[in-house]
Amino acid sequence: MLAVGFRLCGRSLMKTFGNKPWNFAKGGSYQAARQHSLDSEGKTSMTIMNAEPNAPLMVDSYSQYGFRLNNGLAVIGPMIIFPKTILSWNLSGPEDISEESLALFFALEPKLDILVLGMGVRGFKINPKVVTALRHHGTNVEVLTTDAACATFNFLNAEKRSVAGALFPPQFIAVTDDDLALSQIQRKDILKIEDI
């Protein structure tokens, strides 16, 4: 099945307080804060990290073909994302991860605080040789599925850490009606009826 729409990142982190459901035109990672208000009950405020002024590069959404970033660019294929830079990662899949294909991270100065590896597949076991190499070079690594890796990278980047994300587009996305609606809203063709 083709990826019909971009899945928003970090939607599991979206929290609603009070009784109004939130309606977003854009995805990203959300930090909701309850403000105690004496005027009325349930008044809340919310900051969308991805939409903050002078926010660093963050991943807004992902699909089976790539990622959409918070500066409006869509990226196709595996990518390396630094706080303000992106590079293409010339690999075909997570099985190609090796000491050689991670070379750049070992050569960088200043050393990365953490490298977030986003595997396109759930439950992918990384080669033990690679783990040994990472340990040898003293690189902290977090191996996650792509959806979790996007959210983790966004949060770490918002905290202004020296972080890099190496992300593969997920191989499978279970598309929900909600995703379809959101992507239609994004493309502004909500009233279009698709041919069957």
Partner: protein, 191 residues
Amino acid sequence: MGLIVSSLTRRIKSFNIENRAHREISKEKPSPAPRYPSTAKEIERIMKENPEIVNQHLQKNEELYERLKEVYLTSQDIKIEPKKVAEGTRPLPLNRSAPEDTDFGFPEPSMLPKGRITLRQALKLISDYQSDPSSKPISAIAAEHNLGVEMTENIVKYFKTFELYVPETKTAATGTKITEIESGEKVKDDK
């Protein structure tokens, strides 16, 4: 065993609980909680020995009441002298501005250990190599940046810069079919 006992006693305790509760809360005046036995005993003793103290305690003392009326509280501002901080040997920081925004989101080092490159150098290296791989042999690039030849080979092999494609109009969409991307054809617009 304990489980059986507690389940039985709980049933006894909660028997007709709602009716009893309603009866209790519909009372005009709530009945006070029973006194602790030792407290009750002590009060009884005082009542027996000198009951006038208890009676006096229950009556309003006019004299004390009048005195209380005469009590007033006034306040005046006290000028507080700011405490002088003891001067240390080192000067206090004067610049309180936020650190400047850097190009890559983190400060770049001024000194580089051997075998390491900054992100700025890495980007230049990768984009230069990608634009014209034949211009410089990899060994020359490696020597220029104090990197190992193998490391440099890996960097230029596995890391590439993205080609930027901006559609001319919004309706022009991507110009590349998904099937073309899947088949590995170069992603670009054909104008």
